[in-house]
Amino acid sequence: MNSYEQFIKEKKACYLQERQQLEAQDRRDEANFCLVRANICDAFEQVWQAVSRREKTQAEAVTAYRHKLETIPSAWRTRRQEADAHGDVQTAAIEEIKLETVRMLAEEFEKRVKEEAL
């Protein structure tokens, strides 16, 4: 699963580069959105490294990481729902970006797990 870790690293670098470009274009809020995405990638990269170190086998690490992909964003989902209910578009937008990023990471993770199993 080194390829997954590499994928997260590349994504993170990509978001940080995009952030710089957006800042140069005076699109600061969108630049911040990219920073949020990069931070999520960074957090899940560390989570993956931690579970890989902790678990004895790769299969166990995969299960533990899947669990984290499910549990960590649950608070964001709640916050997003609350923000939606109160018409707080700004918070909702940030929470949605975090959730979108995790969805993308989860999809990629499953893809890589499948590829390795074949």
Binding site: Q25, D29, A85, D88, V89, Q90, A92, A93
Partner: protein, 183 residues
């Protein structure tokens, strides 16, 4: 226009995406998806920017059939920058400004969507949140304990502590189980 309003206006417009949204809206009112398509942004990003523009008083929305239409509010944009620069600064002292900012920060930190997250342990902060809650009570009106409890419970479950604190802080008066805020 006050200095605060002018700063909010300039800050809001100092973003290329928002400026482009305004440029589109100056031609005609539009809905989020159309703006998103024209500007190559996601709908959620456009909504985010529109909310900021709305808060700065530059955009207003109205429901039109299935869509929420957004239109530019031209009035704040017709003020000349020279007029803004020529206006006298408000006489609020730096100290008052700092206190107002501190108060605002405490309220933002402790109230989430109108609910009190937790009761601050620091007296200064607790006093601010109690003042905020007491301000929602009608001055001079007599409240029974039950009415007051219900009112406070709308903010936080521990209404007993908060009710007692309001009395201790002399924000409310109490006599024979009746509470009121002085006029």
């Amino acid at each position: 226009m006050t200095e605060e309003k002018a700063i909010a206006l300039f800050k809001c417009l100092a973003d290329r995406s928002r400026l482009q949204i305004c440029k589109s809206l100056v031609k005609e009112p539009m809905y989020v998806e159309l703006l998103a398509e024209r500007l190559g942004l996601s709908a959620s990003t456009v909504s985010f920017h529109l909310k900021k523009l709305e808060a700065a008083g530059l955009v207003q929305s109205r429901k039109e059939q299935y869509y929420m239409m957004y239109e530019l509010v031209k009035e704040p944009l017709t003020v000349s920058i020279l007029d803004i620069l020529g206006e006298e600064s408000a006489e609020q002292s730096e100290q008052e400004k700092r206190e107002a900012q501190y108060r605002q920060k405490v309220l933002e930190n402790f109230f989430v969507y109108g609910k009190l997250k937790n009761i601050p342990s620091q007296h200064k902060k607790r006093r601010i949140i109690l003042e905020e809650m007491a301000a929602g009570l009608e001055p001079g009106r007599r409240y029974t304990e039950k009415e007051l409890n219900l009112y406070i419970a709308g903010y936080h479950d521990d209404f007993c502590t908060l009710r007692r604190e309001m009395i201790a802080e002399k924000l409310l008066k109490r006599e024979n189980g009746i509470y009121w805020r002085e006029v």
